[in-house]
């Protein structure tokens, strides 16, 4: 990878630090763009996951464009919040969020999973600036986030830590090891988000190995549980605010979502967990999302970082 490519975003935009704190309305518009990115990059790569990325798109946008304090031009900014997707397979939404937020140029999205790109099928911190820890084997991320939260506590640092998990992923025992640890240590700088889309590779989560009652589980592991509609951005913002305000326990947001949300023929269908749309399907999806492959891939290839994302200099909002 050419390190110069990586810092384009920083080069042509003001130094961006801190939280954007965008209002819900603006987030909605951005989430639509994220969905267009996802479909476009998947159609280009002809490989990768559609369903989970689309269910994460709304709360993911809220996370990146409202909640997180980060500096995409300087991913190692010491004051940053820490975010991590334990579900590494949702790279389409992760990379879209990162590019739209300014971690790297939008055009890089068109090299998703390509041999000559830097966007691996699953997140790799050795390849992509801004990814801090690699993932792709399910169930490991919450432990990593516990470690980051412990480091913040050791350093008396105000960093907040966000961990996105899947609902199928809740079947991995390591999640419950980490949950027990975080509950025991009262890591209130830690916030989990479950993409509760009720689907996994082989079908319905409740058919395969039911995780219900999920809220009771987290409560029994001593977490503060917040449930919300993961596509309702007002609700998501309220959930983040509630998590931030809660003291003495880690919080988990059970974000009720729909797999494949935003594309009619993908919605709520587990068969879209792990495959990309073929080109005609992508065209239909992009039409539903108000654009076309030609138009949107041109936007991406045009490349630069998204100027809208520039915060006011004090880093607390647009």
């Amino acid at each position: 990878m050419d390190p110069d490519t990586m810092t384009d975003a920083g080069a042509d935009s003001a130094h961006r630090a801190g939280r954007l704190a965008w209002p819900a309305e603006r987030l909605r518009a951005k989430a639509l763009e994220i969905r267009r990115d996802i479909v476009t990059l998947l159609a280009k790569a002809q490989s990768g996951h559609s369903g989970g990325p689309l269910s994460c798109a709304d709360f993911g946008t809220a996370l990146f464009f409202h909640e997180l304090s980060v500096d995409p031009a300087n991913p190692a900014w010491p004051e940053r919040d820490f975010w991590h997707f334990s579900i590494g397979h949702v790279t389409p939404v992760i990379y879209s969020l990162m590019a739209e937020r300014g971690y790297f140029p939008l055009r890089d999205l068109m090299k998703f999973r390509a041999f000559d790109g830097h966007l691996q099928g699953h997140p790799s911190c050795q390849d992509t600036p801004g990814i801090e820890v690699s993932s792709g084997s399910l169930g490991q991320g919450l432990s990593v986030c516990c470690g980051v939260a412990m480091a913040a506590r050791l350093d008396d640092h105000p960093r907040r830590v966000y961990c996105v998990m899947g609902d199928g992923e809740q079947q991995e025992g390591q999640i419950w090891e980490a949950a027990m640890f975080a509950g025991h240590r009262r890591l209130d700088n830690l916030c989990g988000i479950v993409d509760y889309n009720r689907k996994q590779i082989d079908g319905d989560v409740e058919d395969i190995c039911g995780i219900r009652p999920l809220a009771d589980k987290w409560r029994a592991f001593r977490w503060n549980v917040i449930e919300c509609d993961g596509h309702d951005l007002d609700a998501v913002l309220a959930a983040f605010a509630a998590a931030r305000a809660h003291r003495g326990q880690p919080s988990v947001i059970l974000a009720h979502t729909v797999m494949g949300r935003g594309v009619s023929f993908m919605a709520d269908d587990y068969r879209w967990h792990g495959k990309p749309p073929k080109m005609p399907e992508a065209e239909q999806a992009l039409a539903e999302l108000g654009t076309s492959y030609a138009a949107w891939s041109a936007r991406l290839l045009a490349g630069g970082a998204d100027r809208d994302a520039a915060p006011s200099p004090d880093g607390v909002g647009p």
Partner: protein, 324 residues
């Protein structure tokens, strides 16, 4: 004893994991003790055939490989013959302790199908490209391990695993790979097969690299070098007698595997060779680095896992044999 395998004129390609999936159905029909478990990867592991045919003997465990391994052990303890399937990375690494203590130490009759072995997995990238299975499984007493080279060999390895009493690991890849063996090519668990004769050096390969070895042999033959090709499908127990014979008779060995170089097929052969009859060896393998995303072909090229890489290694080995 061994069938000579010629490079097929027209290459038919098929997935090794399909051989696994089909064999499971055949086994299920013949033996009610066969049970299949999967960790949320029915299609990828091609256990779907079995699931459709024998839904009552199919157990979907969900994303919990440790638990799946333990459940299989419990089934085996009660006389079932459980086959569990998931990606090789998770079958070995995620459940290594369960394999060690519950399965191998107990010597239970658990069969493990590890899918998506090797870098040819392609765009999913490093986390999903299992390349440590041989090192891990070989280190566990009581385990057997097969890395079949094509559809038919996988089919036969799966049947053989069911017949064998004790834990067996079978590794298969993701992509279509050339079918080099036939339905009636001999297969015996624990024995390597000489697929092509030659006295100048031996190429010992497993998995998809057997086909590359046969291609390399053809290239070498054109420059007058006669390479023997051994399909060493069984990594454990190792066919030490065959390896010793090859070392003695050809005086140089190249190993070829889609696996980490440390402790893989090459390591297994090296251990046997220095004990029996030391000869120069060269290794074609993944050189102690993680995989990455890309098309399978791009990756096989970039990681040096092609017939031409075997040819270069063979020339180096021959050069060393001459000098020695």
């Amino acid at each position: 004893m061994s069938a000579a395998i010629a490079l097929p004129a027209k290459v038919e390609k098929k997935k090794t994991r399909e051989g696994f999936g089909r064999a499971l159905v055949a086994l299920g029909e013949a033996d009610p003790r066969i049970v299949v478990l999967v960790g949320d990867l029915v299609e990828s592991t091609m256990t779907s055939f079995f699931a459709e045919r024998f839904p009552e003997r199919f157990i979907e465990v969900g994303i919990a490989e440790q638990n799946m391994t333990g459940i299989a052990a419990g089934l085996a303890a009660m006389g079932k013959i459980p086959f569990l399937a998931t990606y090789g990375a998770f079958a070995t690494c995620r459940a290594a302790d369960q394999l060690r203590v519950t399965v191998a130490y107990s010597d239970l009759n658990v069969k493990i199908g590890g899918a998506h072995g090797g870098i040819s997995v392609g765009p999913d990238g490093a986390t999903h490209q299992a390349m440590e299975e041989i090192s891990i499984i070989r280190s566990l007493p009581n385990m057997s391990m097969v890395v079949p080279c094509d559809y038919w060999e996988t089919y036969k390895a799966t049947l053989a695993a069911a017949r064998h009493q004790g834990p067996v690991y079978i590794r298969f890849g993701r992509e279509d790979v050339p079918v080099v063996t036939a339905e009636d090519t001999p297969f015996t668990l624990g024995r390597g097969e000489v697929f092509a004769g030659g006295e100048d050096l031996t190429i010992v390969a497993c998995g998809v690299m057997v086909y590359e070895a046969l291609r390399a042999r053809a290239t070498l033959l054109a420059s007058g070098i006669a390479a023997r090709v051994v399909d060493l499908h069984t990594l454990k127990p190792l066919d030490v007698a065959l390896l010793e014979r090859c070392a003695r008779e050809t005086g140089a060995i190249v190993t070829a595997e889609e696996h980490q170089v440390n402790g893989g097929l090459g390591g297994a052969v090296a251990e046997a060779v220095v004990r029996a009859h030391p000869v120069p060896m060269e290794f074609v393998a993944v050189m102690d680095r993680f995989g990455q995303s890309g098309k399978p072909d791009e990756l096989m090229d970039a990681f040096g896992l092609r017939a031409r890489d075997i040819v270069v290694a063979a020339e180096r080995a021959l050069e060393r044999k001459r000098k020695a």
